[in-house]
């Protein structure tokens, strides 16, 4: 407090000095003014800091062990009717539950990762233009907030490699938050959620991949669905595909109205090799797709920006 007083005195002094500018020769006035002003700004900043500190000085301590303050009623939580779960989280829970029923383990994706997991371990050649397709953010250290959940493939393969030795398959889904350097509008977010799937065994094939994906979407939307594919390109799968479903009738879909749901393909032998899995003995497939779209489709939402808005008008609907 005393410090604040001193500072205020100093400010007064400076203001008084400034009044003396009339006595300064005209050609030196500018310099004089600049100098005084610099000092004044410095003091003002110090006063602001001191005032802020002062706010936190005069605080009455409380009994942190007590259930309530003296003479106040015991606190109560809000009624259940206030509560809500985030729709994305709720749906991702549902997604992972379906995959779990189908025999998939679950692990969550990282949100800050390195070049190795994001690109190198996925068979992206160094400096390859394919890396540009991902519009990644980077930190000063060269770390990457991952642009796809595939950043976890290498870890998943290593973590569950023992399954193969035990004669079982690696089957894991990896939901998580990803980031892309994109301008935000109703259909684009720089922050969104994906779910990755990885399956490796001695004799799995592309027919299995299509079977699992169709099964998942039919379970998720609770109805039979037509599926369709188109060729795609990802360095970490070969062959690579885009997977589409016919928009479910219950959600207002018409015949021939196909929606791209995810990218998928047979895991590139180099990706398996890098995780220490013999690609001449084992095959695998992997997929990854956005969760936001899935949920928007389910609830008929038209703006992806609701999800991270924190707006209770939206959230309380769920």
């Amino acid at each position: 407090m005393a410090e604040l007083e001193t500072l205020k005195q100093e400010l007064k002094k400076i203001n008084a000095e400034y009044a003396g500018i009339r006595d300064v020769p005209a050609e030196k006035r500018a310099e004089f003014g600049r100098e005084i002003n610099a000092r004044k700004q410095e003091i003002l900043a110090k006063i602001a800091a001191a005032e802020k500190a002062a706010m936190d000085v005069d605080v009455t301590p409380i009994d942190i062990t007590a259930p309530t303050a003296p003479n106040e009623t015991l606190p109560e939580v809000y009624p259940q009717s206030f509560g809500s779960k985030h729709p994305l989280m709720q749906e991702i829970d549902r997604v992972t539950e379906i995959y779990q029923m189908m025999g998939f383990d679950v692990m969550e994706s990282r949100q800050l990762d390195d070049e190795f997991h994001m690109f190198d371990s996925l068979n992206f050649a160094k400096e390859h233009p394919a890396r540009d397709g991902y519009d990644t953010f980077r930190t000063e250290e060269g770390l990457i907030p991952p642009a796809h959940t595939s950043t976890m493939q290498h870890r998943a393969l290593k973590k569950y490699k023992h399954n193969l030795d035990e004669g079982k398959a690696i089957a894991v889904v990896i939901p998580g938050r990803v980031h892309r350097n994109e301008d935000v509008d109703a259909t684009h977010e720089h922050t969104f959620y994906q779910c990755e799937g990885v399956y490796v065994s001695e004799n799995c094939n592309m027919g299995n991949m299509l079977g699992i994906l169709r099964e998942f979407f039919e379970k998720y939307y609770g109805q039979k669905l037509n599926i369709r594919t188109q060729p795609g390109y990802f360095p970490f799968t070969e062959p690579s595909l885009e997977f589409m479903i016919e928009k479910p009738k219950t959600l207002g879909g018409k015949k021939g109205d196909f929606l791209e749901m995810l990218g998928c393909g047979m895991i590139h032998p180099n990706v398996l090799k890098m995780a220490g899995i013999d690609p001449t003995k084992y095959h695998g497939f992997a997929w990854g797709g956005g969760m936001d779209r899935l949920v928007m489709l389910k609830y008929g939402l038209d703006d992806v920006r609701y999800f991270e808005s924190g707006n209770l008008n939206f959230l309380k609907e769920f």
């Binding site: 259930p67 009624p79 206030f82 383990d105 160094k126 592309m206 299509l210 060729p231």
Partner: protein
């Protein structure tokens, strides 16, 4: 990339409907983003001969009578004179009697305006107050083939007669496919019509019949090409053309319409030829003015040196922009003076102009890695660099340059040829069995079908009882391993023909953290709280407002805005921000929470050498109208939540200086500590300064929990007691804290070996008194004795 179906059909015999074709291209080749329908874009547009052209004094207009081949009669509203000619006014300087022009008849839409909101419909107009003008004579710009508005288009009399539809002559009733380039990143060959057509033949199950031209020209040693580093340029072909005549008068040609449909515009005859060949073959070409080239280098003969640029070297490009080169850029130099940014754009100093006598046609390939950096550094996204960055194969540089020479033969003849190859052609064979293909795809294709499918698109296949030895054609530089072949077979025959099947299920293990969060989510909804997701990136300002040091945050170097520059250190500051927004809406009371990953530089790296990450849960309770103590509600939430997870905790004074603790007021906040002394979080009210920075009402508190630690402590143990209980109330007058009182009670209970649940009653403090009356309920489950109560009364 845009693909004209009419052009495509020149190379492939297509027996399916356009609709099926487009669907098949989408399913087996590439993503079709859209289809531009131009089947009616050139309706009612005809070739006409200008019979008379009469300048009107004092204006730029010419009164023309045109021969429309009799179609004028078929069109309502068009009057013809006694000779059957139609009168039309024209303002172009090049209109003259005898020329073949393009007539947009009344009622037709000007093609350049078809995609506008209000397409421009041509009609009959009265001009200069007295002349009727029917329709218009169109320039290439109005026909949407060019952007320059200079003159009317002229048609070669050898290709058309008056009255013919322009659309018929140039095959303009067309569908244009818009192709998503990203899905062809690995297929440079498909960035030329021939390569694209080959694939279309393949997916239709037809053999592609087009034969690539043979190399006829032979390299002589009359000009020097030096490639300084073989890694930057695999092959450089230069063909010198010498002028020996005039190129033909510039008519509107079929080739112009192809450039336009592909999204390009005509420039001049030489550049148009190079562009057309690029669209046809995928191989970009560049033309230098030979004489300028020699002059810039100060040599008698051209000395072409391909090298990496030096940092700081300057080069003025064709678009008049001077750029500063860097060491990743590849430059074409004339005797070491840079004259072009390889693969990206030519230089101003060697630009072709109307005085050009001799030219050098460059046909080369460059390192896609360097060009990618060039593209990024200089922001050049031309059709040429788009192709080069896919890695154009080197096999056709000479033949494409040769084609270019042929196209310009009327004005130029070949004077010299250089062809420098730095890397030997590698012919790679892939050995694979039909069984391996079927095993990975889950199909049962036979040897014959597999072989035919591959040979249709140029593979050479030697089949021997199910064993295939496959040689990829020169343009398929992307084929290296078995899986590449499997992809070809699966794709060309259609992935949609693969039967979906399910592999055997096995049991799955759930992720414990994921399950914990599910439990918390359930519990918090029951407790009336709202789950939020907020960005993992925050502003430096937000960190400072919450009392956190931005230096402890990982900083994004290419953030979208200052609002998203730092990786957040804890969850609570983001929630304080959202609490303000929701109070403004207004919501009077709410409990916001989020569970997400956070990072701090102070935590260092983990065993994988990536930043240590923690899963944290933050919560903020805010009310607009409440003057009681917010701390206790936040604490109540912590207790309710942890009780559900069977974790017993104590609330101890806040000592640690963790970043997550910074926004909390130490005098009104507590560390949450488990029975074995581990700190698992913080709960409390916020500093006044923080609250005011976030502009929040006074009733405000929250907590931040370390979910990784909670996961270790949480358990399903539940002590169930079903039996008799003795309930007693106890009030103690004291100046101790509540915690101390409970501790004392517990000590007495322990002395008597009694078991009881203690729950809070009330805390009463008469005005002016130091002492408080603390009341609790005690529910005895075992060892109740009146002596215990008597002893407790004395506390």
């Amino acid at each position: 990339m845009k693909i004209s179906l009419n052009w495509l059909k020149k190379y492939v015999d297509i027996k399916v409907s356009n609709e099926d074709l487009i669907r098949l291209i989408g399913a087996r080749l590439v993503e079709v983003e859209g289809v531009i329908d131009e089947t009616h874009k050139y309706d009612k547009i005809y070739v006409a001969r200008v019979e008379t052209a009469e300048k009107i004094e004092g204006t730029h207009l010419t009164l023309c009578r045109i021969n429309v081949g009799g179609v004028g009669k078929e069109l309502a509203k068009v009057e013809t004179d006694e000779n059957g000619l139609v009168q039309v006014m024209c303002g172009a300087p090049n209109v003259r009697a005898g020329m073949l022009a393009v007539w947009i008849a009344p009622g037709a839409v000007v093609p350049a305006s078809v995609h506008e909101d209000a397409p421009f419909v041509i009609g009959k107009r009265k001009m200069l107050g007295k002349y009727d003008s029917y329709g218009m004579l169109a320039g290439a710009d109005e026909l949407d083939f060019d952007d320059k508005h200079e003159k009317i288009a002229e048609i070669d009399p050898e290709v058309a007669r008056p009255g013919e539809l322009l659309a018929d002559i140039f095959e303009l009733n067309d569908l244009i496919l818009e192709i998503e380039n990203k899905s062809l990143t690995h297929r440079p060959d498909c960035f030329g019509m021939i390569g694209f057509a080959r694939e279309v033949a393949g997916i239709l199950g037809e053999k592609f019949e087009y034969k690539n031209p043979e190399e006829v020209l032979k390299a002589d040693n009359s000009i020097k090409v030096k490639i300084v580093d073989k890694n930057i340029c695999e092959r450089y072909t230069a063909v010198v053309l010498e002028k020996h005549g005039e190129l033909k008068q510039k008519y509107l040609t079929w080739q112009d319409t192809i450039l336009a449909k592909s999204g390009m515009r005509p420039v001049d005859l030489i550049v148009d030829a190079t562009n057309y060949l690029m669209l046809l073959t995928g191989q970009p070409l560049h033309a230098f003015d030979y004489d300028k080239f020699v002059q810039v280098g100060g040599t008698d003969e051209p000395e072409i040196v391909v090298r990496l640029a030096k940092n700081g070297e300057k080069l003025t490009l064709l678009d008049d922009k001077e750029i500063e080169l860097n060491e990743n850029d590849i430059v074409i130099t004339s005797n070491n003076v840079p004259v072009a940014l390889a693969g990206a754009m030519g230089g101003k100093s060697t630009e072709i102009d109307e005085n050009t006598r001799n030219i050098i046609i460059e046909s080369a390939t460059f390192s896609l890695y360097n060009l990618r950096k060039t593209q990024m550094a200089h922001g050049i996204f031309s059709e040429a660099i788009t192709r080069f960055t896919k890695g154009q194969p080197a096999y056709q540089t000479l033949t494409v340059a040769e084609e270019c020479a042929k196209m310009l033969a009327e004005g130029f003849k070949v004077a010299a040829v250089a062809d420098e190859v730095t890397q030997p052609e590698i012919v790679l064979n892939v050995e694979i069995t039909v069984e391996e293909i079927n095993n990975l795809l889950g199909t049962s294709y036979d040897e014959d079908l597999t072989t035919r499918t591959l040979t249709n698109v140029g593979f050479i296949v030697k089949a021997d009882n199910g064993n295939l030895t496959i040689t990829a054609p020169a343009w398929r530089t992307d084929i290296h391993i078995k899986e590449d072949i499997i992809e070809e077979v699966g794709r060309l025959l259609g992935y949609d023909n693969i039967t979906p099947t399910l592999p055997l299920h096995q049991t799955a293990e759930s992720d414990k953290m994921w399950e914990l969060k599910k439990r918390i989510r359930e519990a918090m909804r029951r407790l009336g709280a709202n789950e939020l997701l907020t960005y993992g990136f925050v502003s430096g300002k937000l960190l400072e407002k919450a009392g956190q040091d931005p230096k402890n945050s990982y900083k994004i170097v290419n953030s979208i805005s200052p609002e998203l520059q730092y990786v957040r250190q804890s969850i609570v500051p983001s929630l304080l921000d959202k609490a303000y927004m929701n109070q403004k809406i207004p919501f009077d009371k709410f409990a916001l929470y989020e569970m997400n990953k956070v990072y701090q530089k102070a935590w260092g790296m983990d065993a994988e050498n990536v930043p240590v990450e923690k899963m944290q849960m933050g919560m903020v309770i805010a009310e607009r109208k409440n003057n009681s103590t917010a701390y206790y509600k936040a604490k109540k939430y912590v207790e309710e939540l942890l009780q559900g997870l069977n974790i017993v905790v104590k609330f101890l004074p806040l000592k640690d200086n963790f970043a997550a603790n910074k926004p909390f007021e130490p005098k009104r906040a507590a560390e949450i500590v488990t029975e074995d002394g581990e700190i698992i979080g913080v709960v409390g009210e916020f500093k006044n300064s923080v609250r005011l920075e976030f502009k929040l009402a006074e009733y405000l508190a929250g907590f931040e929990l370390d979910l990784d630690k909670i996961l270790v402590k949480a358990n399903d143990k539940k002590e169930i007691y079903i039996g008799k209980t003795e309930k007693r109330d106890l009030t103690v007058k004291t100046n101790d804290t509540y915690g101390v009182v409970v501790e004392k009670i517990n000590k007495v209970l322990a002395k008597y070996n009694a078991k009881a649940e203690i729950t809070p009653g009330s805390v009463y403090q008469p005005e002016g008194s130091v002492d408080k009356h603390i009341s609790v309920h005690i529910e005895f489950r075992a060892g109740f004795d009146n002596k215990i109560m008597q002893e407790l009364e004395t506390l």
